[in-house]
Amino acid sequence: MFELSSPGRRSWSFRSTDLPEWDAAELVPAGHLADEPVPLPELSERDLVAHHTRLTHRQYSVDLGAYPLGSCTMKYNPKLADAAAAMPGLASVHPMAPAQLTQGWLELLVELGLALGEVTGMDAVTLQPPAGAAGELTGLLIMRAHHAAERPDRPPTKVVIPDSAHGTNPASVTLAGYSVVTVPSDDRGCVDVAALRAVLDDDVAGIMLTNPNTLGLFEEDIAEIAGAVHDVGGLLYYDGANLNAILGVTRPGDMGFDIVHLNLHKTFAVPHGGGGPGAGPVAVTERLARYLPGPVPVRDADGSYRWTTPSRSIGRVHGWHGNALALARAYAYVLASGGDGLRRVAEAAVLNANWLRQRLRDHYDVPFDRPCMHEFVVSAAGLRRRHGVKAIDVAKRLLDEGFHAPTVAFPLIVEEALMIEPTETESPQTLAALGEALVRIAAEAPSEDPGAPRNTPVGRVDEVRAARRLIPTYDARPRA
């Protein structure tokens, strides 16, 4: 784009205002005025639009096809949510407008909070966290506030997480000021309960789990785990990234969790935006409600809405009220789905995953070979041993077949992992085509084309060079 720039060319125009045309020196005190304007590309609207339209033709997306990226729930997001979020009555509201001018927003947030409470089986919700990881940290700070209040003299210092956990979990634990205790998975791919019991003591603030876990397996011992953690005064944190699997089937609250975050961008139809924005509300049990970030919207007896701050709020975790328009999308999705629709989501997500798992069973290694929930992990370890074909090679080949690749190299506990989450919105036909492609890739491994992908906008990208000779901006390019 920078190459398209020509000095003096422009796209911009501004409303005519009829205001006095004070010049910069009259408006900006001496010493503050820049000598030079900020150099930015100067393009016509035509070139700007062409540039970005062309870039979008170099970008895969859910709207183009299947995107079985495990743990990410790349499902189709209905277009109605775009329309909901575009309504001027929502999109053009100032975040500091007084509550009486924003009753519609407050009602929406309250209703969404109630719905998320019902889905998770929890009692109170904050909608502020703008993503899953932000939700994790918020939840852990609530945990911290709880322990500080309950055990002010010797608050616990550790949080337990399984070795299969997503990387944001340990990072959030650290940011919350706790140290990480890793608990191994057993040979069924679940938390090793004996090992867990061995690390539990009163220095443990809690445990972070996702259930189904990152292998797509349901932690059947969850009730026992919950009991054990609660016994030492710890809390259970539910990483909601995998909530899609259990909507309307079971609830974190019923399993014994105390704190839950939801990734609305995974489960509730907020599109991923190329990496965001999302929304990561946190739901908690009654006794933790007082710690929620404030302000929270509440409904008064007279039916009006206002903001209030919980008595022992940990404080604000977002500049305003969270990713409000993402929340509006999620609310539209809840309305469109209803209770039954949400259960149907889980059923179809789990059905699709199991079907595909079954389809691939004889063609890939399956580390934990039993029915899965909404996703499953296969391994290319055998392909690698026999033919030198790694998980990443399988992934790149799949790009050539017109699909997005699964998640590779996660979870860390599986060698050459390929983590596959088809989601509920893919039809049986698409699923069959995806399975077919993966089977073919495995079959062709003996004569694997190391040049894949070939049908993509660029070929295999040199990641090592990017890191070694860092070019983080156009200005850092080596001069030709």
Binding site: D18, H94, T250, P453
Partner: protein, 457 residues
């Protein structure tokens, strides 16, 4: 009603048969009986698309948005509120590009070969944000200005091995609240530095040597802080200087990097994002190259593909949590890519001259509003320091009440500071914080001041 699950009953049966199952319930047999929901979720029945939109329309109709342009009466409020969220025009080209479904429905660019669109757009974003800040690197977005500020404090702590963070009271109160919230986990020790007549007074507070000084430019009250003084104070303390800047005012001001900022953070909403009731917004974050390995969030770098063609990729990923786990420099995973793309489109739409023009027009409207308001009896400046992006006035009435009454006149009058409604930033005293963007016309401002005159009588 509209089910986004495509499966027909016949297909479900065939798939179950393939799995040797006889019902969908059996899929969940691993879930212990006791944990399974006995009844369906207590949520309303599914609605059709039309019914959903009608319901959301009802809710939207219960808000009074800032859609007023002095055009159609009753069409919404004319906006004079700022305080970190501004009523700028979003050009149609920007709207169109940012709603391309390839940008909207992709995920984090893990597979670079099929993500060149997002990656290149982010590379361009990084370049332009770095230029705005006057620094060498920018990441590919954080959640919002507040979280960018928190991350800057964390970076400074890691870089210096110190815990103290000295934050100017001129920094947005919400951002300071967020700093406080996350300090509970990170162990940062915050101390606030007072404003004297609108400017931060950096006199040594006698506390331990800080990791960073944090100042906002222009600050919450719209005043132009003395960044050189902040830099000197930082040097004296051996601390990093974090500047929270306004990227629109940056069209006129010396870039913070040129005044010695080590880290520049900001709220990117003014470029391409509607008011949106506060989100999704965009955390801008730029720093000196020496801190790149502590940079929170995603970073896109330029490289080549196997055939030597220019290509883009997420780089220095070993900083990130999915690889470095508890030793990561930040836990940010999903960020605000789409908003960053919109920002990048808008910055290119503005270009060199447009950014300056935008800043100039905002400054003119703000000045004109300020002068007109101050001409009203009993309206006085809250602080004496020169302002640019917005300004605060003391009113002869409770500002929360004034804001309410002005809404009846068709204006969002500003953000109330203090007063009976305990407006934002009560610490500044009772007042009204007013911003006028490039969208405000003389006619609108005159009408606003006339309405204020009426309301204040």
């Amino acid at each position: 009603m509209p089910s986004y699950v495509p499966h027909t009953d016949a297909e479900i049966e065939a798939m179950l048969a393939f799995l040797g199952l006889s019902s969908l319930d059996e899929l969940f047999s691993v879930v212990p009986e006791a944990l399974r929901l006995a009844a369906p979720l207590a949520l309303p029945d599914a609605l059709s698309e039309a019914d959903v939109l009608a319901e959301v329309e009802r809710l939207a109709g219960a808000n009074v948005p800032c859609t007023g342009r002095g055009v159609a009466p009753g069409a919404g409020l004319v906006c004079f509120a700022g305080a970190g969220a501004y009523d700028h025009e979003v050009p149609e080209a920007v709207r169109a590009m940012a709603s391309r479904s390839e940008y909207v429905t992709a995920y984090t660019p893990y597979q670079a070969e099929v993500a060149q669109g997002v990656l290149q757009a982010l590379f361009e974003y990084q370049t332009m944000v770095a230029r705005l800040a006057g620094l060498e690197v920018s990441n590919a977005s954080l959640y919002d200005g507040a979280s960018a500020c928190v991350e800057a404090a964390n970076l400074a702590s890691a870089a210096t091995g110190r815990r103290g963070i000295r934050v100017s009271r001129g920094v947005h109160p919400h951002w300071r609240q967020a700093l406080r919230t996350f300090a509970a986990g990170s162990g940062s020790e915050l101390s606030e530095v007072a404003l004297v007549d609108g400017h931060t007074s950096w006199d040594d507070d006698g506390g331990p040597a800080p990791a960073a000084l944090v100042v906002q430019y222009p600050n919450f009250l719209g005043c132009l802080e003395d960044l050189s003084a902040a830099r000197r104070a930082a040097d004296a303390a051996g601390a990093l200087l974090v500047v929270a800047f306004d990227p629109v005012a940056a069209g006129l001001l010396v870039p913070p990097g040129a005044r010695g900022a080590d880290v520049v953070v900001g709220e990117g909403q003014p470029f391409g994002t509607a008011l949106s009731f506060g989100g999704p917004y965009l955390g801008l974050f730029a720093c000196r190259l020496e801190h790149v390995r502590r940079l929170p969030g995603r970073l896109v770098g330029e490289t080549v593909d196997v055939e030597g063609r220019t290509a883009y990729v997420s780089t220095l990923r070993t900083r990130e949590q999915d690889i470095r786990r508890e030793r990561a420099s930040s836990n940010v995973c999903t960020n605000q890519t789409l908003i960053a793309v919109a920002c990048a489109v808008q910055l290119a739409w503005l270009g060199t001259s447009g950014l300056r023009e935008l800043a100039l027009r905002c400054a003119r409207a703000t000045r004109y509003t300020r002068e007109s308001l101050l001409a009203l009896e009993g309206v006085e400046p809250l602080v004496g320091a020169p302002t640019l992006r917005e300004f605060a006035v003391r009113l002869p009435a409770d500002p929360t009440v004034v804001v309410d009454r002005m809404a009846d006149e068709g204006f969002l009058a500003g953000v109330a500071l203090g007063g009976d409604g305990a407006g934002a930033g009560a610490e500044y005293g009772e007042g009204l914080l007013v911003a006028a963007t490039e969208r405000r016309t003389r006619a609108e401002i005159d009408a606003y001041v006339a309405a204020m005159d009426k309301v204040l009588r």
